[in-house]
Amino acid sequence: MKTLRTITVAAVSALALIVSGCGTGASVQDANNINPTGDIKAREISWLLSRPADGGVITAMNKIAKEYAKKHPGFSLNLITTPDRPSYIQKLETLAAAKKLPELFDIDATPFAQKLAASGNMINIEKLLKDMNLYDEYRTSALDYQRFDDGSLYMVPFESQVEVFFYNKALFKQAGVEVPATLDDFPKVCKALRAKGITPIALDGQDMWPLERYMAYYPFRASGGDYIKQLKRGKAKLSDEVGRQAVEWMASLGEAGCFQEGFSSTGYSDAQALFTTGKAAIYNDGSWDASALATDSLNSEVRDDVDYFHLPVIENSATAQNEYVAPSGIGMAVNSQSFDPLVRDFLEFALKRYPEVYGSSGQISPTTNVEPTIPDNATPLYKRLFEDADNVGQTTAMPWDTQLDSTSNTRLQQELPLLVQGDVSVDEFISTMDKVIAENGPKAFAED
């Protein structure tokens, strides 16, 4: 029968296409060949990225690319941005599966990125930066944030941020509470604020990573970065002491009514609005929002009352007060398959120019070689945030969403709101997550 034959032919060619498409990736590129030979031939190069279309990084890089094009006619930098992160990740993964990644692409230090690096798709950035004599200019924390567990570096940071707890002094006073000295003080503070009808903490639960940050805090104070590195491989469990403490702390935040009701469906801008309109007392946010929270564009009714504190410690804390989440944003990877003299030359030019151009836009550069420009309309907080960036300690708290394998991470993000809302118990949560991680974690990190 004719149709049947058509289908058979289609199926066979389908197999052939897939096999040739994803290929026998045997021809491993050399991630360490950082000095390709040949002439610089100007052409268009592309950067697939996930950053705000009119944000500091894109503005700076566009300017730099224009400067470079003047010296190298025919060169252009095509910036393809998808700011919405889930949509970006879908696009990136599709391109990776088809082996069509452009010259440059954004990626976090996830297990997926590590696989890409291990299969020789990405240039070794540590070697590249050292070869360009730029390595020592970078902040240690900015580079560390991009590293894989084995310490290798395959992504270039373009930002430097600190994450702090903004709070409303007036609301604290009204409820008669002080800044929490330890993490264990949080439930107490929340209850006092609640008693006065104030929403204690504004949380963007819809994007999921903000709540996952809270999950990372207790273990970070108890054991530094070790615990999550063990946990994600299935070598530590949530039922261990550190894990149980963290889960119980999360549940206690929920019981104390720390987050606004319905937090799990509140979006980013709505959560921020709760804080900036004086309805919520605490808001955990990063210096990327300095222009919204530390300039006079902030609502004048709360402007003078806003201050911030760092991640509180715990008793016998393994990490110090000045060690907390200090991310350097999503990193940029360099595709080793299309790495040629032009890409190298442009990168060298761009990365040298970048700190100055970026720093002048009122942002913290990932390097230490420029004085940041404080905008004229900044409140005193702005400068303090910048100074803190210079004083972050040795160990950075790693967000768990870049650490866990993606299946476990998705599940954790789904279970956490239920735990905090009291819809699953501490024990249920622990046994569910331990089972999921045991099934997926060891598999994902089998290579190391």
């Binding site: 058509t6 990740i89 879908q90 319905g262 709505d270």
Partner: protein
């Protein structure tokens, strides 16, 4: 066949282009993903043939999958009630008024043109509790403040909350189709029935509805298959597994968890699920006709 004078060539000329277009644009990738469902693949490493183990895992060892399946069924019921029930109701009402039909019809279709991103955001606000959203405020006004809650956070209400907008936004579309079918009912039939003194309900159940039954079947199939493939609004509104459908779970498995083989197995499941649904519709509708 209707035309006595047709040649083999003419059949081919009309049939081959659409078949080729459809075969290359749809069948090929679908067959490819069917093939993928027997592999384990993360998009980077080499594909590994795993036989039926993706299916075994899905059917026997994945409680999240079965939860998603249950959710999809409830989602289907809600969407159908709003879309088909609502469409039938409004189309019937429209037949009975004389003024402003066109205007109402156009207005009724409006939600369908708004982008899903905006709809997602709007409903997030409508369901919100802090700040108080529209729904909770309405409940307060009618004295049901005891029912106020965070509709998108409470596990027992999430599914209904994500289903409603999808059902609501396309009810206008189905209304138009059904209304158009009603318009095609020959006026002689209706007038004859009127002379016989039938009431409104009899006019509907004995004259109009039987006449539009073929269109009704088509519309039902459309609504059912669209609902079983429903994705956008539930994906945008909720990350919770209480609001997760098979489709959104499949998408997350493929693109968040880069488990393409497993996601393909779920896609095959959805296809089979739809086939069964369409089969059931035909059987059910046919039995009704036979009665």
């Amino acid at each position: 066949m209707m035309l006595p004078s047709r040649s083999k060539k003419s059949v081919l000329i009309f049939l081959v282009p659409p078949l080729l277009f459809y075969g290359a644009g749809v069948l090929l990738p679908v067959v490819q993903s069917l093939v993928l469902s027997f592999f384990s693949w993360d998009g980077i490493s080499d594909m590994k043939f795993v036989g039926f183990s993706n299916y075994v895992q899905m059917l026997s060892n994945d409680s999240v999958f079965w939860q998603a399946f249950g959710n999809s069924m409830i989602y289907l019921v809600i969407c159908l009630t709003l879309q088909l029930g609502g469409a039938l109701l409004v189309a019937t009402l429209l037949l009975q008024i004389t003024k402003g039909r066109d205007l109402i019809k156009t207005l009724y279709l409006l939600p369908a043109v708004i982008s899903t991103v905006a709809i997602g955001f709007l409903f997030q606000r409508i369901y919100s509790v802090d700040p108080v959203g529209l729904l909770n405020r309405l409940l307060d006004v009618v004295g049901l403040s005891g029912l106020q809650q965070a509709w998108l956070s409470n596990p027992s209400t999430i599914l209904a909350a994500v289903s409603f907008p999808e059902g609501w936004r396309f009810s206008g579309l189905y209304m138009l189709i059904i209304y158009a079918a009603f318009m095609a009912v020959p006026t002689e039939l209706e007038e004859a029935a009127k002379l016989d003194g039938v009431n409104n309900w009899q006019m509907f159940s004995k004259i109009r509805f039987p006449y539009i039954r073929p269109v009704w079947i088509t519309t039902t199939i459309m609504a059912v298959t669209y609902a079983l493939r429903g994705f956008d609004i539930p994906y945008l509104l909720s990350n919770s597994r209480y609001g997760q459908l098979v489709t959104t779970y499949m998408y997350r498995t493929a693109f968040t968890n880069t488990n393409y083989g497993y996601a393909s197995a779920m896609a095959v499941f959805i296809v089979i699920e739809c086939l069964v649904a369409v089969g059931l519709i035909f059987v059910f509708m046919k039995r009704k006709v036979d009665e």
